[in-house]
């Protein structure tokens, strides 16, 4: 399948609103037409052509469409907004709000991504080879619905509030995560393979958080349940053993926190609650 390639021509010093760049909008379009698309660079409207060198071709079929973006997009927002199919690959920093409200398809970021990666995501897959910012899969301000489906894979680290208000779907972070993974979570699964800075699952009412690395302490509003030898994340088995906590009781929640025993000797105190 052939790719539509957008190469950034110059440094951008203002916020760049690229919600138009998605397979849904660009598939089947001629590059001339694409070049005429207008986006906001700060308070100016500019043609896509003046920002990017546009090469290649966008496939007519949405599912076959591949868009490659080359350059530092760290000041860009909303690449892949509401996309429902096809592939976007960013070679460089992906910017803020990559894949917001995405419904299907795939986004690959070869580099880091900014905050609000996959916010309000409903379906599809996002893979980030570097690290992601804060609020991965977050809900928009004031609402109680974040990610409702799909998969986010971050090879590096993620910031704080990863998976906040998540209702469904999967987030896997290979590196470490900031504070509050799964805050206010209602459902879905978060797996953090590295360390977590703390307060995992704060205010969660449902869902599952698996922490393979170190967690400084468990919030006092969680109840120790059991020790399990392994658990499932998506289709995979993750080997433990894990301390399992339920909570957040403050919200009458029934979420599950799996914390790897071997990485967290400081939590040994909870073993006294084990029924012998």
């Amino acid at each position: 399948m052939s790719a539509l390639e957008l190469t950034l021509r110059r440094t951008v010093m203002a916020p760049l609103y690229l919600d138009i760049i998605s397979p849904d909008n660009l598939s089947g379009k001629r590059w001339r037409e694409i070049g005429d698309y207008i986006v906001w660079e700060g308070n100016r409207k500019v043609k896509l052509r003046s920002l990017f060198k546009i090469e290649g071709e966008a496939e007519a079929n949405l599912q076959d469409t591949l868009i490659e973006i080359v350059g530092d997009m760290s000041r860009a927002r909303r690449i892949g907004y509401r996309m429902s199919g096809g592939v976007i690959r960013v070679r460089g920093h992906g910017g803020l709000y990559v894949g917001e409200s995405m419904r299907g398809g795939r986004i690959i970021v070869d580099g880091d991504a900014g905050p609000w990666l996959g916010a309000n995501m409903a379906g599809g897959t996002i893979e980030v080879s570097g690290s992601a910012g804060d609020h991965v899969a977050a809900a928009s301000l004031g609402t109680d619905k974040g990610m409702t489906g799909g998969t986010i894979i971050v090879k590096g680290d993620s910031g704080s509030q990863t998976g906040a208000w998540m209702h469904s779907g999967l987030i896997r972070v290979s590196g470490s995560s900031g504070m509050f993974p799964g805050a206010h979570m209602r459902g879905g699964t978060i797996h953090i393979i590295g360390d977590c800075s703390g307060r995992a699952g704060a205010n969660m009412r449902g869902g599952k958080i698996v922490l393979s690395g170190k967690l400084p302490t468990v919030l006092p509003s969680f109840t120790f349940e059991d020790i399990r030898s392994q658990t499932r994340v998506d289709k995979d088995n993750v080997e433990g053993p894990f301390y399992v906590f339920s909570g957040d009781n403050n919200e009458g929640g029934d979420g599950r926190l799996f914390i790897k025993k071997a990485s967290n000797p400081q939590l040994k105190w909870c073993e006294k609650f084990l029924e012998v």
Binding site: M13, A14, G42, N43, Y97, D144, R199
Partner: protein, 438 residues
């Protein structure tokens, strides 16, 4: 105003969010000579407001700031904004609501970002309110009814010196006549001067407020806490405090930057708001943030009614968009996304983290301020302005949203204009230049 000595009563103070309105200020020959009823900060401001004043507009030429005509400064400012793709308009808490209104109009016209100092004081509080809401009241309710008062992560003795005597612990209310009818709990990482007045002081480990509030919420629900201590506080004590919270008639929780500035930020506030919300199913409880900076609450209010959002508003695309963390001053600067800035009545160069400040000083910078500040020293265009509540009047909002008028007491120095005039002139010039195609 004349040579006679005259005394103004019921003057509204312009220092902190208490907006005490019982000051007596004596003025002679357009100078404040005596201040009564005020706290140390307020007295210092009223007696020293003429120190280090900027006396005329300045423009940077060949690396140096030098005096210029007002017209030239307005022209230079308008041209900077006209060229700019994403200007940042920041400050707004030490000025009047009327000036903020013009500021929002200017931000909309130039297609920029407008943020006020909320983003670096109680911004996280507002983010918490978006999620939880708040059970709150005016300060008078606390004065009349509260039998339990909590100061959490704040130190009113130093930051809001008259808060206790006018509104809380030491005030005389209809249903609570004296100190002995109230209980004070202070939660802090330090044994502050406020803590010394408390009936119960709870010393929490730094950055453990969230854990402690979670434990308190659990204890208020009646859940068992499995850990022996939380954040350095023994579980027994937490349970005792929870019992105090439940059994009071009317509790008031005041919190400060100890919650908003520690890691967790909005989530810390979220927890405190949730605690108070939960408590309302058992008794009456209110929560009030200790807003610090004079009229910062007014700036929030004006921006909210004009745009729907309290701070960190993005007008670049011609409509208001809001997302602190994306559209707030420190983040915009840290990412290097602004190409000019207009600072009104604030000193970000002193207050912003180093990296953000570096980006601020490397773009064209316009400052409107009565005094010489580090921000002024780094600016390209400087407007001296009159002080609201001393040299010009204006509406201000107390921390609990009670609006007051801060009155003019003396004439400003010659040729020094109010923020409103300056902003209007910049706006007018900007529109003219735009119409002329610059």
């Amino acid at each position: 105003m004349g040579l006679e000595e005259s005394t103004f009563r019921d003057v509204v103070c312009t220092v902190c969010g208490c907006c005490c309105d019982h000051l007596e200020v004596t003025v002679k020959e357009d100078t404040v000579v005596k201040v009564k009823n005020a706290c140390a900060m307020s007295t210092s401001k009223l007696l020293n407001y003429m120190n280090e004043r900027i006396m005329k507009p300045m423009i940077r030429r060949r690396g140096r700031l030098s005096g210029c005509s007002y017209r030239d400064a307005v022209d230079a400012a308008a041209k900077i904004l006209l060229k700019s793709r994403s200007p940042l308009l920041y400050g707004w808490s030490l000025t009047s609501c009327e000036a903020v209104e013009v500021g929002v109009e200017l931000a909309e016209e130039v297609g920029g970002f407008i943020d006020n100092t909320t983003s670096t004081c109680h911004g996280p509080t507002i983010l918490g309110v978006h999620e939880i809401g708040e059970s709150s009241s005016t300060l008078g309710e606390v004065r009349h009814r509260a039998d339990l008062i909590i100061y959490w992560g704040c130190n009113p003795i130093h930051a809001h010196p008259l808060h206790m005597s006018r509104y809380t612990l030491l005030s005389k209310g209809r249903f609570r006549k004296s100190r002995s009818e109230r209980t004070l709990i202070v939660v802090d990482v330090r044994r502050t001067d406020t803590a010394k007045m408390a009936d119960m002081f709870i010393q929490v480990e730094p950055n453990k407020d969230y854990e402690l509030i979670s434990a308190l919420r659990a204890a208020v629900r009646g859940d068992e806490i499995e850990q022996d201590e939380v954040g350095g506080v023994p579980t027994d004590l937490i349970e005792e405090v929870a019992e105090m919270l439940i059994s009071c008639d009317f509790g008031a929780l005041f919190f400060g930057l100890g919650l908003t500035m520690s890691p967790g930020k909005s989530e810390n506030v979220d927890a405190a708001l949730s605690l108070v919300r939960d408590l309302n199913s058992k008794t009456k409880f209110v929560i009030i943030p200790m807003r610090g900076h004079f009229n910062v609450n007014g700036a929030n209010n004006v921006m909210t009614w004009m745009t729907g959002y309290p701070y960190a508003i993005d007008f670049t695309r011609g409509f208001p968009y809001y997302n602190p963390g994306e559209t707030s001053a420190v983040d915009l600067l840290a990412r290097g996304e602004c190409d000019s800035a207009l600072i009104v009545a604030s000193d970000p160069v002193s207050n912003f983290p180093y990296k953000a400040t570096c980006n601020l000083t490397s773009i064209p910078l316009i400052t409107i301020d009565p005094h010489i500040t580090p921000t002024v020293l780094c600016s390209d265009v400087v407007f001296p302005s009159a002080l609201v509540g001393i040299e010009t009047s204006g509406t201000v909002y107390r921390m609990d949203g009670v609006p007051l008028v801060a009155r003019k007491l003396v004439e400003p120095p010659r040729n020094i204009r109010s923020d409103i005039e300056i902003l209007r002139d910049i706006l007018r010039r900007y529109r003219n230049l735009k119409r002329l195609g610059r």
